[in-house]
């Protein structure tokens, strides 16, 4: 990438030529200077800026932006954005990716050859230094992104339709993100590295954190997990790598995140965990398994009156109005828990019917109040996987139609093709579709998790991560795959509740620390990533440093 030190020149100079002509002999312009708002990618000519002074031709196909998605909100803290587009005319040799704030007449230009993807696609990762400057300058402004192809200095050019998007202030930098992934190894045993990865947001690389068959997880598998929002504690179900849908071999494991090689208490030798939730301080864990919810101690403090692992409270279907509790999550203030209530279990990890319900919780006594249903399932639809907004006023969840799927099986919450994202108030009321976040129906958009922080003057803008099997531009063409071979990835949308009753969600962005050839699931946010203290000293992954016991990304 070549960048010149001088300021950019963005002067839209009129050029006299006729639309529909394919070459331009006239039309003078000032020589383009590629300055601070410009980057030229390896393989593009040094005078690329001078290739784009002609009016758009009407001949041949124009480029088409495939990613980012129209209406997406890009965190100012997130460095990577790989633009993907169809090239249009085959004779286009250089492309200009332009991100512009039209009202402010401010543009950032990136010139690149078509780095080929598939038959007619191109990819270009925005040059990070220029994109850093662009995000800082463009945050909060109404933006559009377009791609223009050019055949030469005096050749034809055509532009894609502009894609509206925004750069949003998120305050997510260095916040923790824990997710489950399966990273291929390709060589040797060819067994993927599957486990729980983590990173402080803004890091380019995720750290393998709880990996099966190691001191961090001595069993074969560990996927279902919860992390306390203060980042201190992680709980997960460690189990054998059985293929049975019931997965009744899982035991609860709880660790402080600073010492993932040590357990807080010995796991049971038998099934006692499917999905779980930690309180915000990590001192209690509510475990769903065997059609019950069990509150257990996760602290090593004699004064608490409980030893680590002790059972404090147990809620059965009898306590919950005849339905069992699944997929719990504590509210941000730990004054309530939201669950899925179901009287139709599919397996230990999935339901075929579900209501979303809130139970008050008293941290001092460990007691729960009565279940209050806020999003009732119907004969046609079931609700599952609830998550609290950071202000505790809303709950997002997934919904899907009940009944038989294409294969004649009863639909279940797990791996549900028809799942879509929705939002409801803490007290219930109208259910709002998060259609922009879901993006497309029948693409497995599910398991939403709110980041536990908000932005905006009134704290009304939230960020919601979820799994989906939509396409990631041209780099992951899920639509070309059989259903069974689609790959779930983690996506994130902004949710701005001031837009209610309209859809408050934005089109999603793909989280760029993933490998698009490998599945990623269940992203859990924390306020920080604790440094590891079980490896001698205070350690963080490469590219990070430990400051006051917290891993932070070393600025580039």
């Amino acid at each position: 990438v070549r960048r010149a030190p001088r300021l950019a020149l963005w002067a839209l100079v009129g050029v006299t030529a006729c639309r529909g002509e394919d070459a331009y002999l006239g039309g003078g312009h000032e020589t383009y200077v590629c300055g601070e708002r410009c980057a030229i990618e390896q393989g593009a000519p040094a005078d690329s800026g001078d290739w784009f002074w002609n009016p758009d031709s009407e001949l041949g196909a124009a480029p088409e932006v495939v990613y980012p998605l129209s209406g997406s909100a890009h965190p100012v803290d997130l460095r990577q954005l790989t633009v993907q587009f169809r090239r249009g005319r085959a004779d286009f040799r250089v492309f200009r990716v332009r991100v512009e704030a039209v009202e402010q007449r401010l543009a950032f230009d990136f010139f690149t050859p078509c780095i080929a993807v598939g038959d007619d696609g191109c990819r270009y990762a925005l040059e990070p230094t220029v994109w850093d400057a662009a995000r800082a300058e463009l945050v909060g402004k109404s933006l559009r992104l377009s791609v223009t192809g050019s055949a030469g200095v005096q050749g034809a050019q055509r532009s894609s339709p502009a894609v509206p998007l925004s750069v949003v202030d998120t305050n997510l930098r260095n916040k923790g993100f824990y997710y489950w992934a399966s990273v291929p190894q390709y060589s040797g045993s060819n067994v993927p590295r599957t486990g729980i990865f983590r990173l402080p947001f803004g890091a380019d690389q995720a750290e393998p954190f709880l990996m099966p068959g190691t001191a961090t997880n001595e069993r074969d598998c560990g996927a279902c997990h919860s992390v306390s929002s203060d980042g201190s504690t992680i709980a997960f179900t460690a189990r054998d790598d059985d293929a049975s849908p019931d997965q009744r071999s899982g035991s609860l494991v709880v660790k402080v995140t600073a010492q993932p090689n040590r357990r807080l208490f010995e796991p049971a030798g038998s099934y006692d965990s499917s999905m779980m939730a930690l309180t915000s301080n990590g001192k209690r864990v509510l475990v769903a398994y065997d059609q019950q919810l069990v509150l257990r101690s996760a602290e090593n403090d004699v004064a608490s009156g409980y030893a680590p692992g002790d059972v404090i409270t147990r809620l059965t279907a009898e306590d919950l109005g005849g339905k069992a509790g699944y997929f719990p999550e504590f509210s941000p203030d730990d004054d309530a828990v939201v669950v899925t209530l179901s009287d139709e279990q599919d397996s230990a990890i999935a339901v075929r019917a579900g209501d979303i319900a809130v139970l008050s919780y008293d941290a001092a006594s460990g007691k729960f109040g009565r279940a209050s249903v806020i999003a009732e399932g119907t004969e046609d639809v079931f609700n599952f996987y609830p998550t609290w907004s950071p202000d505790g006023r809303y709950v997002a969840f997934a919904s899907a139609p009940r009944g038989l799927d294409e294969g004649g099986q009863l639909r279940k919450s797990y791996d549900q093709k028809m799942a879509r994202l929705r939002l409801v108030g803490r007290e219930g009321g109208e259910i709002h579709e998060l259609s922009n976040a879901t993006h497309q129906l029948e693409k497995w958009s599910t398991y939403p998790k709110f980041a536990p922080f908000s932005v905006g003057q009134s704290g009304s803008q939230f960020f919601l991560t979820f799994n989906s099997k939509i396409n990631y531009g041209l780099l992951l063409d899920n639509d070309a795959r059989l259903d069974s071979q689609r790959i779930a990835q983690l996506w994130m949308s902004e949710v701005d509740v001031t837009k209610l009753p309209d859809d408050p969600s934005s089109a999603p962005i793909w989280l760029p620390f993933q490998d698009p050839t490998a599945p990623g699931h269940l992203g859990i946010w924390t306020k920080e990533v604790k440094c590891r203290t079980d490896q001698g000293g205070a350690a963080c992954a490469a590219g990070q440093r430990c400051e006051a016991n917290v891993c932070v990304v070393v600025p580039k």
């Binding site: 990438v1 990618e41 390896q42 393989g43 790989t82 050859p113 078509c114 780095i115 080929a116 993807v117 990819r123 270009y124 990762a125 040059e127 992934a181 990273v183 291929p184 190894q185 390709y186 060589s187 040797g188 045993s189 060819n190 990865f197 890091a203 380019d204 690389q205 995720a206 393998p208 780099l475 620390f513 993933q514 490998d515 050839t517 490998a518 992954a541 490469a542 590219g543 990070q544 070393v554 580039k556």
Partner: protein
């Protein structure tokens, strides 16, 4: 052209110590912590732990060829080629090691056709093989393999690397980023 090798090929063709089994090779494909180089494509970190001379499977070297990501047998010579647009001039990429200097042999082509050796019992081989030897340090350097004299229509392995251990048993970390044919 140009294209990123990682968009079409994966590092699945192992040769050398233990055929990469038993912890000889560990691969991180979730990116590099400090790429500090312009990067369009994947950045992968290969951690090679050489086998001791008396260990079963010891060969004294390890190599990886990028090939199509095929299910099943991915041993070299059994993975079919991909058609690649003619006219590539070079393979260009960035590389470093955790502690140098370290000699690394990079290559383009050469699958089941290395130094004139081809096993005719295997179904696939490259029509060309180009070697690029380099001394890597802990600083990224951009390297290129000259393809200007090469003729091809299909490619089994567009890129690969090999390291001789010369008795070393300490782990070695090789970072490779942004491998392009252009």
């Amino acid at each position: 052209l140009p294209f990123l090798v990682d968009d079409y090929f994966v590092p699945n063709g192992c040769f050398g110590d233990g055929d990469c089994q038993g912890g000889v090779l560990q691969l991180e494909s979730t990116g590099c912590a400090e790429p500090d180089v312009p990067m369009q494509g994947a950045c992968r970190v290969f951690t090679y732990t050489p086998l001791a001379e008396d260990a079963p499977g010891h060969r004294g070297y390890l190599g990886i060829l990028f090939q199509r990501g095929e299910p099943g047998d991915v041993s070299i010579g059994r993975v079919p080629p991909l058609p690649v647009q003619r006219g590539a001039r070079r393979v260009v990429f960035w590389a470093k090691v955790d502690a140098g200097p370290q000699e690394v042999a990079f290559r383009a082509g050469g699958a089941n056709n290395w130094e004139g050796q081809t096993d005719p019992s295997l179904p696939y081989s490259d029509d060309f093989a180009v070697l690029k030897e380099a001394t890597l340090t802990s600083e990224y350097q951009q390297l290129e393999i000259d393809l200007s004299e090469v003729e091809y229509e299909e490619v089994v392995s567009p890129f690969g690397w090999a390291i001789e251990t010369t008795g070393r048993t300490a782990p070695l970390q090789l970072s490779i980023s942004d491998v392009r044919w252009e």
